[in-house]
C-alpha cells in the first residue's frame, strides 16, 4: 500500500510473526516512482512484544543498513515524537533494484512479555521522482 503526496511516497509493508522465537523474512519492492529512499519506521500490532522481544536486519538493494540483532525498539517511536519526525532518516539513498528485505527475529525470551502472533509494519518513505515537463 502506498500514498503519494507532496513529492513523498509512503509505503507500508506487513510481516506476519506467528512463531515464538523464530526468524521471519519478508521481501518487498518500493514504488517504481521512488527516486530516493529517505527513511524507515517500524510499528507493530503488538508494540510491547516488538519492543521487548524484537530485533531485525534490514537490507535495501542488497546492502545491509541495519545488521542482525539490531533491536526493534531503536526504530520505534512514541507519541512524544512529533508526527513528521517519527522515522529513522537514512539520508537519500538510491533504491537500486527497489528490493527491501527485513529479517525479523523474535528473541523467545518470555520474562517480560509472553509471545502472541502479531504483525510488524515496516514504513518506507521515499521521494518521488520529478517527471520532466514538456
Amino acid at each position: 500500500m502506498s500514498v503519494k503526496q507532496n513529492k513523498m511516497i509512503k509505503e507500508v509493508f506487513t510481516l506476519d510473526v506467528d512463531t515464538d522465537g523464530g526468524i521471519h523474512k519478508g521481501s518487498f519492492e518500493v514504488d517504481k516512482n521512488a527516486d530516493k529512499i529517505i527513511g524507515i519506521a517500524i510499528c507493530s500490532s503488538r508494540d510491547d512484544i516488538a519492543y521487548y522481544r524484537g530485533a531485525q536486519a534490514i537490507k535495501i538493494n542488497e546492502e545491509e543498513f541495519f545488521p542482525e540483532n539490531f533491536e526493534t525498539k531503536n526504530l520505534m517511536s512514541g507519541l512524544n515524537v512529533p508526527p513528521n519526525l517519527r522515522f529513522y532518516r537514512l539520508g537519500n539513498i538510491d533504491p537500486g533494484n527497489r528490493k527491501v528485505e527485513i529479517i525479523y527475529t523474535d528473541s523467545g525470551l518470555a520474562d517480560v512479555v509472553a509471545f502472541e502472533a502479531h504483525k510488524i509494519f515496516l514504513y518506507v518513505y521515499s521521494s518521488l521522482a520529478v517527471q520532466p515537463t514538456e
Binding site: G78, N80, L109
Partner: protein, 148 residues
C-alpha cells in the same frame, strides 16, 4: 559510507565477568558512534519507588595500546505495563516515552587494529536467583568505511 555492527553478549551468571573481542570489518576507517544497552527489565511493585538499578559496567579498549575508549554503567529498566488507562482512553505503551532517531555517542576513533577488546561485569546478580539470571548486552558501533 557508514555501517552499523552489533555485538551481543549473553550474561547467565551472577557477577559474571565477561571478556570479549569485537572484530571490525577490514575496510573500517573510523568508529563514529557507540551505544550500548541491555535487555533486563524489572517489575515495579505498586507503591514502591522506582530505584535506578545498575545492571553492569561495560568497558571498551583499543586492542593494541590498551587505551580505554568507552565506558558506561548500564541500567536495568522497569517494565512498562502493556496498557495504561488515561481518562477514557486505553493507550498502548508505545505512546509514552519512546523515540525514534536512535542516537549513539558520537566519537571519532580511527581504526588502527581490526579488534576492539571489551569487558563487562554483571552487577544484577546480588538480587536475582542465579538460575533466573539471563540477559543480553548489545554494543552498537557505527563505522565509517573506506571508499571502495
Amino acid at each position: 559510507m557508514e555501517k552499523i555492527i552489533v555485538h551481543t553478549i549473553r550474561i547467565t551468571r551472577s557477577f559474571e565477568k565477561n571478556l570479549f573481542q569485537i572484530l571490525l570489518p577490514e575496510n573500517a576507517e573510523s568508529i563514529t558512534g557507540i551505544a550500548a544497552s541491555c535487555d533486563i527489565h524489572l517489575v515495579n511493585v505498586t507503591g514502591q519507588p522506582k530505584i535506578q538499578r545498575e545492571s553492569g559496567y561495560l568497558h571498551l579498549f583499543i586492542s593494541d595500546t590498551g587505551e580505554k575508549m568507552f565506558a558506561q554503567i548500564l541500567h536495568a529498566s522497569y517494565r512498562i505495563e502493556a496498557w495504561e488507562k488515561i481518562g477514557e482512553q486505553h493507550l498502548v505503551i508505545q505512546q509514552f516515552s519512546w523515540k525514534t532517531n536512535f542516537e549513539m555517542l558520537a566519537t571519532c576513533q580511527p581504526v588502527q587494529n581490526m579488534v576492539i577488546d571489551g569487558f563487562y561485569e554483571d552487577r544484577v546478580g546480588a538480587d536475582v536467583e542465579e538460575d533466573e539470571l539471563s540477559y543480553n548486552v548489545r554494543i552498537y558501533l557505527r563505522l565509517k568505511m573506506k571508499q571502495p
